[in-house]
Amino acid sequence: MPSPDAASRTLFDILWSRHVVREEANGKTLLYIDRTVIDDVRAPFVFANMKRRDLNIRHPELALLVQDHAVATFPNISNPRIEFAEATRNAAREFGLRLFDVGAPSQGISHVAAPESGFVIPGASYISVDSHAPTVGGIGALGFGCGSTEMEHVLATQCVWMQRPKQARLTLTGGLATGVTAKDIVLRALAVFGRETFAGMALEFAGAASLLSVEARMTLCNMAVEMGARTALVAPDDSVIDWIEARAGIHLASELRDAQAVSSLCSGASAVFDLDVTLECPDAPQITWGTSPAQVMAIDGVTPRGEDATTTRALAYMDLAPDTPLLGKKVDYVFIGSCTNARFDDLEAAANILRGRHVADGVRAVVVPGSRAVERQAAASGIKDIFIASGFVWGETGCSMCAGGGERIASGSRVVSTTNRNFENRQGPDVRTHLASPLTAAAAAIAGAICDPRSLMNGKSQ
């Protein structure tokens, strides 16, 4: 039943207040956490400490361990981080926790597999020992990242202490132009608002965000983390339940439908935000030129003039001249993957560019699906074959080249990557990363250079 003030409540208010266990006078809130995910590079530390401190897990059934960061992309090349997989397996066994192990049907990158498998659902609060937990805002779940010591507290109490964040709404106007995806929109948002405007805030994407696919909404929420947002949301609608039905199964979907679990999850007409801004969807694909996800330009634009120290340093690291186009710049490596852009939609979009074409000589092109479920869907629909026929190398599900895992990229290489971070050395020492959409990444692989994907799309909209 709508309460009298329902119209003034934000989606975040609704989710937050449903999870309040206790409020202290100083504003600290004890918030209930419905689901936790611990990944393989944090689990060994978290559970060693749980043992040392002799802490019990309050609700083992609400926790999930996932192998993603340390998974070998190419298992025939030896994996030096096998110790993480083993320690994670041991922790799952000892503490009696559910594990998405390497090769298991539900395995995937935490923030891809958790919503796809039905582990994280709309309306739930979710904490993971990984900063991109807010990705699940794309299905209307409230996600927060935390450190590993904090996770010990969450596992022992099923709660977290948090100061209620300020709230922002970013209303998207316009629509998706040809060759433009959710990734381009959020890169454009980073260019316009930088990494401070939304720092520490709960950010709701509104307006045209509701027209996007569920996968695209998750891409927006994923990169909201790069804008410093504490959490991010898109109001869930029936398309979210349909999406869950197709992946996690009809049983969960009908339970959520019968309970009208998403119907009240939206901001009221007179909801007030601490910051309320709009962004016109860009009309061209976007790409990063520097070493911060906010150093973004239109694909057919030019690099900045480089008048300040930060810009100069970034251009030098990227081996780029100021005030010059990126189009045509030779590329050594292309990576399509990560919790930002390795869902089925992303692979399908890239395949539309790759169909009937071949990766340019001298380019190594790697695609790593975000989950086993994505991989199965890609195989069943023929998308995987298109990638392989075009010369892409298909890797094992995991974080792979997002965080410098997977394989070694030669120092000095120029990479077009669908990931979320282009920091210095993120993909390997002296590797130069350009963040872009799966379309732009696929186009770069074909052209062997930074390329406008629209030139390979015959004017057809994706």
Partner: protein, 209 residues
């Protein structure tokens, strides 16, 4: 939880904004169960600075053993990896002074007994300038009890700090034990959730898919 009351010693200036956790603890240097934090801390940046014959303050003799790090805004952004806090702790850093921190990084500092001090931009600029001029000669003090930073020449920079967090740091309160004082509230929440939104209480994963 580790305690923090005060720390006295040198202050290292590393005045860059948006220092992310990949820089503080590069993934390829910490992806082992027993990382060598002496090498890992700012590993890539320090190595390339030394190669260019312009070592960072961390490798300058005058800053050896400094417990206070003075840095720029949005410190600790990027990945939530707590190793980026442990790397500093293992190298003797007990207090970080910045105009702002990433929320997750700040939380992790508290959990590890590192004092994250936020100064407003003008005070920070002032404090940073003093630290640069001092160049590792004098002793600074960061005192949580009085919520004040003291410079060698006797200037004082007060800072704000959440009362509950201050209490927890000063007394090294066990976070889990403190929270479990409210276990009644937690149980009441769980009971209510069972009634109002029972689907949130059950995980239903179809493992055959």
């Amino acid at each position: 939880m580790k305690t923090f009351t005060f720390v006295r010693g040198k202050a290292i200036p590393f005045l860059l904004d948006d220092i992310d956790t990949d820089q503080i603890a590069p993934a390829n240097l910490v992806r082992t169960l027993t990382p060598d934090y002496k090498i890992a801390m700012f590993g890539h940046r320090r190595a390339s600075a030394i190669a260019a014959d312009k070592p960072l303050p961390f490798d300058m003799p005058q800053y050896a053993g400094a417990p206070i790090l003075v840095t720029g805004k949005n410190f600790g952004c990027g990945s939530a990896r707590e190793v980026a806090v442990w790397a500093l702790a293992e190298n003797g850093i007990r207090c970080i002074v910045a105009p702002s921190f990433s929320a997750v990084y700040r939380e992790s500092c508290l959990k590890n007994g590192i004092l994250p001090v936020v100064l407003d931009e003008p005070s920070h600029a002032d404090f940073a300038a003093i630290c640069v001029r001092d160049d590792g000669r004098g002793e600074f003090v960061a005192d949580l009890a009085s919520r004040t930073l003291h410079t060698p020449e006797g200037r004082e920079f007060p800072f704000a700090f959440d009362a509950g967090e201050r209490e927890a740091l000063l007394h090294g309160l066990d976070d889990v034990a403190s929270t479990l004082r409210y276990v009644g509230d937690i149980e009441r929440w769980e009971t209510r959730c069972e009634i109002e939104t029972p689907w949130l209480r059950r995980v239903s994963i179809d493992t055959s898919r």
